[in-house]
C-alpha cells in the first residue's frame, strides 16, 4: 500500500478529526453537542486567561509531588519486598487487593478525615503511584540475572552495594516503563480528585463547567487535559529512548 508523506498524514488527520467530530455532533443531535469551531474559539479564549494557567500549573505541581512521593516510597518498599522471597509472598495478597480498589473510593474517606484541599489530591495520587510502581520494582528485582547475583555473593559484596550496583541498574528499563505509566496515573488521579472532591485545579474547573452546562468549556478543558497527557507520556518516551538506547523497542 502507498506510503503517506508527513504533510499528507497531518492534513488527513486534521480533516478526518473535523469530519468525525461534526458527524458525532450530527448523530448525537443534542443541542448540547457543540460544533468544532465553537470549541476551538472557546479554547483560544481559555488559553489567554491568567487563571487558567494558574490552574494548570497547580495541577501539574500536585501531580509532580504525588509522583515523586509515590515513586520514592514504592522504591523503598519494593526493594525490601523484592530482596526477600518470603516478604514477596506475604505482601502479594495485600498489594493485589489494594491495587484493584478504584482510587476514587478513597476520596470520601479523605474528605471526611482531612477535607478537600490540594493536600488531599497529593495524598491520593501518591497512594496510587506507590501501589502501581511497587509491582514494577519487585518484578524488576526478580528479573535480575541469576548469574550476576551468584557472582556478587561469591565476591561477598555488602547488601548496599548489591542493591545500588546490581539490582537497581538491572531494573532500570522496567522502571522507566513504570514511571511513564505512573506519571500519567498521577495526573489522572489529580484530575479525578478535582472532579469528584473539588480539590483545586483543572479537575474542579471541568466539573464546574459541566455543572453550568457550558459544553464549550467542558470540551476545552478536556482538550487541554488530552494535550497535557500526550506531553507527559511523550516526554517520558523521549527520555527513555535517550537513556536506554540498547533496548530495541520502547
Amino acid at each position: 500500500m502507498k506510503q503517506l508523506s508527513k504533510t499528507q498524514r497531518l492534513v488527513a488527520i486534521a480533516v478526518l478529526s473535523f469530519l468525525l467530530w461534526e458527524l458525532a455532533a450530527l448523530v448525537v443531535r443534542s443541542n448540547s453537542f457543540p460544533h468544532s469551531w465553537s470549541v476551538l474559539g472557546n479554547f483560544a479564549s481559555l488559553i489567554t486567561e491568567v487563571s487558567f494557567w494558574k490552574d494548570l500549573t497547580l495541577t501539574l505541581w500536585i501531580s509532580l509531588l504525588g509522583f515523586l512521593i509515590g515513586t520514592a516510597s514504592a522504591l523503598a518498599i519494593g526493594i525490601c519486598i523484592g530482596l526477600s522471597r518470603d516478604a514477596e509472598l506475604a505482601s502479594r495478597a495485600t498489594l493485589n487487593f489494594v491495587r484493584v480498589i478504584p482510587s476514587v473510593v478513597m476520596l470520601p474517606l479523605l474528605i471526611a478525615s482531612i477535607g478537600s484541599s490540594a493536600r488531599t489530591a497529593v495524598i491520593l495520587s501518591a497512594f496510587v503511584v506507590t501501589f502501581t510502581f511497587v509491582t514494577y520494582v519487585v518484578r524488576g528485582i526478580a528479573d535480575t540475572e541469576k548469574q550476576l547475583i551468584e557472582a556478587s555473593k561469591l565476591m561477598q559484596l555488602p547488601r548496599m552495594v548489591q542493591v545500588l550496583f546490581l539490582y537497581l541498574p538491572s531494573t532500570v528499563s522496567l522502571l522507566g516503563t513504570g514511571m511513564r505509566l505512573c506519571a500519567s496515573r498521577a495526573f489522572g488521579t489529580v484530575v479525578a480528585a478535582g472532579i469528584v472532591a473539588g480539590t483545586p485545579g483543572l479537575g474542579s474547573r471541568l466539573y464546574l463547567a459541566q455543572a453550568n452546562a457550558d459544553t464549550n468549556r467542558v470540551f476545552s478543558y478536556v482538550f487541554v487535559m488530552g494535550i497535557t497527557g500526550v506531553l507527559i507520556y511523550s516526554s517520558f518516551t523521549i527520555v527513555e529512548k535517550r537513556l536506554f538506547k540498547w533496548k530495541v523497542s520502547v
Partner: protein, 255 residues
C-alpha cells in the same frame, strides 16, 4: 501436605497481622473515620439487608458489564479493521492516542454534559472509557503480525477475512487479552466516578451519601465491596486468559 501448609502461612501471615494491628489500634485510639475491622464485618450483613445497598450493587454491576461489553466489542472490531490497513492505521493511531491520553475521569463530565446522568449515560461513559484503550491495543497487536506470516497467507490466497481471523487475530490474542484486562480497572473507576457525581444511583453514590451523612461504617462497607468487585473481576479474567491463550503467558514467563 506440610509444604502446602507452610506456603499458606507464608501467604497469609502479613494480611492477618495487618488486620489485627488495625483492630488493636482502633480499639486503643478510637478514630471516628477508621472503625475497627470487626465492626465493619459485623455491620456488613446489616448494611446489605438495607434495600439501597443491594439495589446500588445491582445497578453498578449492570453499568459495569453493559458498558464494558459494548466498549470492548466496539474497540475490538474497530481495532481489527483499522489495524489491518496501513493507511487507516497511520491516520487513526494519533487520533485514538490523543483521546486515550485524556484522563478517564475527565471523560465522565463530557458524557454527562451531552447525555445527562441517567443509566444509559453511565453505561455510555464506561463504554467510551473502555473503547479507546482496547481499540489501540488491538490495532497495534493486529498491525504487528509477523510479515512472513502475512506473505504466506497471501500465497495461500487467503481473503481479507480469512487472513484476519486465521492469521492476524490469533497472533495478537495475548496482547489483546492484556489490553482487555487493563480496561477492567478503567471501567470500574469510571463507573464509580459517574455514580459519584450527580446520579444518586449505584455504589459510588452510596459511598458518597454514607460519607455525607456520617455513616462511616456503611462507607467502609461500600469501599470494601468495590474493592472486592475489582479483585474478583481481575482475577476471574486472569483465569480466563490462561484458559484462552496459555502459550502467551508461558512465553512471557508470567506463569
Amino acid at each position: 501436605m506440610k509444604r502446602a501448609l507452610t506456603l499458606i502461612v507464608k501467604f497469609t501471615w502479613f494480611p492477618i497481622l495487618f488486620v489485627s494491628l488495625w483492630e488493636v489500634t482502633t480499639r486503643i485510639a478510637a478514630n471516628p473515620f477508621f472503625p475497627a475491622p470487626s465492626k465493619i464485618v459485623a455491620a456488613t450483613g446489616d448494611v446489605y439487608t438495607k434495600e439501597w445497598l443491594s439495589q446500588s450493587l445491582v445497578t453498578s454491576l449492570f453499568t459495569l458489564f453493559a458498558g464494558y461489553l459494548i466498549g470492548s466489542i466496539a474497540g475490538l472490531i474497530l481495532g481489527a479493521i483499522l489495524g489491518s490497513y496501513q493507511m487507516l492505521r497511520e491516520i487513526f493511531t494519533p487520533i485514538t492516542n490523543f483521546i486515550r491520553s485524556i484522563p478517564s475521569a475527565a471523560k465522565v463530565p463530557v458524557i454527562i454534559a451531552l447525555f445527562g446522568i441517567g443509566l444509559s449515560s453511565r453505561v455510555t461513559t464506561v463504554a467510551v472509557a473502555v473503547l479507546f484503550p482496547v481499540l489501540l491495543t488491538t490495532l497495534r497487536a493486529v498491525a504487528n503480525t509477523d510479515p512472513n506470516m502475512l506473505d504466506y497467507s497471501k500465497l495461500a490466497r487467503f481473503g481479507y477475512f480469512r487472513s484476519l481471523f486465521q492469521v492476524r487475530i490469533p497472533a495478537a490474542t495475548g496482547e489483546i487479552l492484556a489490553g482487555l484486562q487493563a480496561s477492567i480497572q478503567i471501567a470500574v473507576l469510571v463507573m464509580v466516578i459517574s455514580e459519584m457525581i450527580g446520579s444518586g444511583k449505584g455504589l459510588g453514590a452510596f459511598v458518597i451519601r454514607a460519607q455525607s451523612t456520617y455513616m462511616i461504617t456503611d462507607m467502609w462497607v461500600g469501599i470494601l465491596t468495590l474493592g472486592i468487585i475489582g479483585l474478583l473481576l481481575t482475577e476471574g479474567f486472569r483465569l480466563l486468559e490462561r484458559k484462552v491463550a496459555p502459550w502467551y503467558f508461558t512465553s512471557k514467563g508470567l506463569q
